[in-house]
Amino acid sequence: MNTTLPPARDLPPHRHARIRATLVRAASEPPPRRWVAPALSMATAIVALGLVMWFVPLGGGDGRAAGPATTSAAASPTADESIVRQVRVPTEDVPELVHGCVDSAKVEGTFELKLAFADAAGRLAVLYSGDKLIACEFGGPAGEYRPAFTVLGGFQPPISADLNLVSTVEGSPEHAGYQVVIGRVDPATTARVTLTQKDVTIDAVLVGGVYAARIVRPLDWWLTGDSPPPAVVDAYNAEGDLVGSASPHY
């Protein structure tokens, strides 16, 4: 065995520049609101543990108010930053998108594009193979595909309820942190899904019974603050009655 220590190396120049820009920005910003976690450990615990959660069905309505107004104003993120828009990928571009995402996630299987959306943090596609789910960032400046996360099991059982939730948090150190929720609902009973975290509520993109939403946070959100407020996903029927609610367990 070669026991000599590998030589010291420089950070890749583009990465050095990015980290530096991030640090300069962090150091120049006013102190962030203290709303999140005992930091990284909690954020990563959410990633590790908050993979597949199931909605607690509430029956046909429990007296809770109808769906909240979309996006209340808050210090961070702003309302505009939290708007999630569906992206309609042209049919001819779907094979390339699927291939790029599957290849970048380094998983095997036949995946189907379920939906794609765009927000302040970029574009995210949701693919499903029957036993794996990939959330994939795509369409960046270099046209790259990048796995945000991959979940084995994805939408798989138990799914006796109308709704389910696949949730994760990504503390991307490059630009911003964000809370992502992805799940499946019964389209016969659910017309709207919202994601609420602390003072922000946004509408999820809902396509063919699959929903996804993301709340963008400040770049160092996962290193600052106290406890992360729980994310709550609510499902509403066409009349605006709450039909299901779920929150990650961690």
Binding site: P6, D10, A27, L40, T44, A45, E174
Partner: protein, 195 residues
């Protein structure tokens, strides 16, 4: 005095006052050392990139509680790096795997560089397998003093122990590693040659 001539302590004070450029300069000075220190603790250049940023962000988060007592911030930054890697190693493993950027997404790496880094990682993983046999305090001392070149006195200061204790830990770590890394003597006899 230009900003480049300022000591780490002066830059740190400026950064605490909201001067982002000063913090950027601290990163320019010590980012490489932190990056290599992280690599030697995890054996992955990609993970080391993310950890390097995490170390500096964590250092920034601690700014209100930290006052530099020496002119160099490096020993303290390496100590922060050690703690970041240690504390979050298990959860970071998963987090980094899913969060890591694809290599060379903006600037393609040169093939030779990529091959070299892969070779580094293979060697480092082998070394780390042996290093992880050591008690944690010996790993820490080895990483700081032998691999990252921090003096015994500086290491003692950031670890909060006596300098003689640092020397002892390094000495024990070296001796133990010698045993662990020495290839066993293999009898090179065939069945015919054997008695």
């Amino acid at each position: 005095m230009t900003i480049e001539n300022r000591t780490d302590r002066e830059l740190w004070d400026d950064a605490r006052g909201g001067d982002g450029g000063a913090f950027g300069l601290l990163f320019d000075r010590h980012g490489r050392a932190v990056y290599n220190h992280c690599f030697r603790l995890v054996g992955s250049w990609g993970a080391a990139e993310d950890l390097t940023q995490a170390v500096f962000l964590l250092a920034w988060r601690k700014r209100a509680r930290v006052r530099m007592t020496s002119d160099s911030a490096l020993p303290w930054l390496l100590s922060v790096a050690t703690n970041v890697v240690r504390t979050h190693h298990r959860s970071m493993t998963r987090w980094l795997r899913i969060a890591r950027r694809l290599p060379g997404e903006d600037v393609p790496d040169h093939a030779e560089e990529v091959v070299g880094r892969i070779d580094d990682e293979r060697r480092m993983v082998e070394l780390l397998a042996a290093v992880r046999e050591l008690p944690r305090n010996q790993q820490e001392a080895l990483g700081l003093c032998v691999w990252s070149g921090v003096s015994y006195a500086e290491a003692a200061a950031v670890l909060g122990i006596a300098e003689v204790s640092v020397r002892a830990r390094v000495s024990k770590a070296r001796a133990r590693l010698r045993d662990l890394l020495t290839p066993p003597i293999v009898a090179l006899t065939t069945s015919e040659e054997a008695p």
